[in-house]
Symmetry: C2
DNA sequence: CTTCTCGCGCAATAAAATTGCGCAAAGCAA
DNA sequence: TTGCTTTGCGCAATTTTATTGCGCGAGAAG
């Protein structure tokens, strides 16, 4: 599953623009389309590339407001966690959800049109599951958002090129 | 720029899988390929669809650890904010960056291979810009992550279908 | 030195995107 | 109501891109 420099270049390009024709990618990484295509296939099979998606403009679909919701709980067991996860899965407003170390137990990112919609979401959430301590922090603006992961850390073989 | 039910269905599909042929999308939303294709084009021109990207598996590219970094500052002016933004832009490890209301002034999500790499990142960051108060929270696990925004809030016209 | 494996690239084939054109329904003005 | 205009649909090319089959050459293995 190791990646070489060419694979990384390919990934870098696809992370920016998955529309780019394989032929053009090949040209940019110094490869003809066939081997380039096969590399992409392999990375998809290996799960390095998970999927290709369309990224929408949050404001244009009326979810311009981001809220970070911190949750603390007394329930520190597997079963409860599963239940919580299940509940969260039902909410498309929750776009990210993490189990945290330290002070907060869970952290989620929620997207909604406005404060009012957040309140509605909040009520629906606490009606589905009992939460001890919930704290909401509103984002005033999104300064940076990218789906592109840094590739500088990826394991590299054949590092002479 | 208003969207109707068909547009939303199209967006919903493309948010999940931007690989799907237009013909198939058309079939699923009850449209032939040409009008479906034109709708997609229009939404791209309008910027509703911002881009199409490949989503990678964080663990497989060796950035399995997510850290949320909260920053408080005394500098509450436009110029400083711009500088900060500029610095952050240079760090591919920072995949999200928000200006917050309330207690914390800025919040960012950082992805790295491990704690050690985070420490390296942290040192590089504070060497680039003077930060008053920085607090790091480590994610023990990513329970949910999606690039798909909820479309339930999108403005809809022609709501009779 | 020979054999085997791996990755490359060319050339054909298949699939998907893109365009041109005509048609019909809905809005609008006379 | 009638006739004009706009809008969105779908069929049928045409063009572009993805995908496959095949042979070649370099380097590893024996």
């Amino acid at each position: 599953m190791a990646l070489d420099k060419i694979d990384r270049k390919i990934l870098s390009l696809l992370q920016r623009d998955a529309t780019m024709p394989v032929a053009e990618i090949g040209r940019k990484v110094g490869l003809s389309t066939t081997p380039c295509w096969r590399r992409i296939q392999k990375m998809e099979e290996d799960g390095v590339i998970q999927r290709r998606v369309a990224v929408l403009d949050p404001a244009k679909v009326n979810v311009g407001v981001t809220v970070f919701v911190s949750v603390k709980t007394n329930e520190h067991n597997e079963a409860w966690m599963r239940k919580f996860s299940g509940v969260i899965d039902e909410f498309p407003e929750v776009v990210e959800f993490y189990r945290m170390s330290g002070d907060v137990d869970y952290l989620m990112r929620v997207v909604v049109p406005d404060i009012g919609a957040y309140d509605t979401f909040y009520k629906r959430l606490i009606s589905k599951i009992n939460l001890t301590d919930v704290s909401s922090a509103f984002a005033m603006g999104q300064i940076k958002y990218t789906t592109a992961l840094p590739l500088d850390f990826a394991i590299v073989v054949d590092d002479d090129k």
